[in-house]
Symmetry: C2
Subunit: 289 residues, 2 copies
């Protein structure tokens, strides 16, 4: 792919910073400009070499920009698009790294109606329980999946260029319909995060929390790792995808009601069958990761 | 501590095999005898050097034994104690590695009433999502916790000797009341296992399971790792500790009902507060692991 002379990244944390580092490592970008809410975070990103310039004004940031990556929490999509829209140049591709797509689509049609051809929403699937500029590294996306959810109006050339940028980061690319995307990730990502947050929240509030944490071991450690994730990011994800997440939560509550009934009945055989199906499926999946 | 001339291990998998290897490495045992349901597993354990002898008869196995470790799934405690009881010698310590203690106590008082002074129940807290003789290694217990739950009738000298054996394996020892033990581990171990088994069971049964697993990433991987655990072992744990487990499940269902209400109401601020409390508690705990 050809060089980007100038890309602008809004949100210079793990996701945005790693994208910048990967493109720099691939020799595909000349100048990376950082935009964000926190001056301290932007300075940190510059001192770490994630970005080359800091812009506090969208007109300055987007002057001559080839690509704008929106990598801040999804709750800010609407306001950021509104602020950036008047300053986008005809050639500027707009993409994002949001974990939910329904709200991104809503914000795009609200704010970027005049230039839908150059908009290509995307979702890099990369663990984000550590956050901020110091967590960023160039190889974050190596072998990871990135889901593109193009608009019906997206220009195929714009889609190809965004795809090529993520491929240059080492990612494996899929395309999905945004509704399918939001349902799939409600099941395999958003619900597990909600469940882990809930478990730790409930335990830490108990009188004997210290005793409980004291005897928690490796199973608890891995099960709750995602409960250490960024609260604001996950608030936004849960809020913006809450219809699909509620559907998944209700399905899971049915499963727990079934497990509860098996325990009450003392149905050891049914419990073992269920555990065996889960164990075989989990280990077959794990062997291919 | 002084040498064990002969120890007998019933269940020569990860837990029992690693105990044998650790005592051998410490130079504290002369002969390890294996007992179990499967001739193939016992042969495998002998060829791997976990045990020195295979016994198919309790009278032969326990002849001159200093210690019997019961390391098979907890559902077999009662029948194994019944079979071994007539052949225990006066000096033979009896301990176990069961993840639940209420049922072990019931089996002890049912079958070993005549020799309670030498019985010292215990629970090594070591991850067991891999199982079988090939999973065993000498350093499994290094730095891990082992909870002793002595009987009121346990001889202090017997408790000290079992404690010393686990310390020789590198473990950190605590003592707890068996009821406290079962409540604590229902919360931080048994419930998370049940939740992970349930999530994977529910997903693998769907028509689009392949698509869902295809987009599952590192968060899902860690959250569901314990769903790959040994189904029979976890059936037994869930059955034998089901009162405490049901209490924990019901507490957790209340937490999920609360989360569900926050999602339905769209209460982003309350959701963020909850995630923040969970995240801070999880990361503070994780930093000390």
């Amino acid at each position: 792919m050809s060089m980007f002379a100038r890309i602008v990244i809004c949100g210079v944390g793990l996701i945005g910073g790693s994208f910048a580092l990967a493109l720099k490592k691939a020799g595909l970008v000349q100048t990376v400009v950082g935009v964000g809410r926190s001056a301290a975070t932007l300075e940190e990103a510059r001192s770490l070499g994630l970005i080359d310039e800091i812009a506090t004004d969208w007109a300055v940031a987007l002057k001559g920009a080839d690509l704008l990556l929106l990598a801040m929490p999804v709750g800010q999509m609407d306001s950021v698009m509104k602020a950036a829209a008047p300053h986008l140049e005809p050639q500027t591709l707009v993409t994002d790294a949001g974990s939910t797509k329904g709200d991104v689509f809503a914000a795009v049609y609200e704010n970027l109606q005049h230039r839908l051809a150059t908009v290509v929403p995307a979702h890099p699937i990369a663990g984000a329980e550590k956050s901020g500029p110091t967590a960023a590294f160039a190889d974050l996306y190596q072998g990871k999946r990135v889901v593109l959810t193009p608009l019906p109006e997206s220009d195929p050339a714009a889609v190809a260029r965004v795809r090529a940028a993520w491929e240059a980061c080492g990612a494996r690319i899929s395309e999905m319909h945004p509704q399918d995307h939001d349902r799939v990730f409600a099941a395999v990502s958003h619900l597990p995060h909600l469940l882990a947050f809930g478990l730790v929240h409930e335990i830490q509030a108990r009188d004997n929390a210290e005793q409980l944490f004291g005897f928690a071991a490796s199973g608890f450690r891995d099960f709750t790792r995602i409960a250490g994730s960024h609260p604001e990011m996950w608030r936004d994800i849960c809020m913006s995808n809450r219809q699909a997440l509620l559907a998944e939560l209700d399905t899971y509550l049915s499963e727990l009601a079934w497990l509860r009934a098996l325990l009450i009945q003392g149905d050891a055989a049914a419990l073992e069958r269920l555990f065996t199906q889960a164990s075989q499926a989990r280990n077959a999946w794990g062997a291919n990761q």
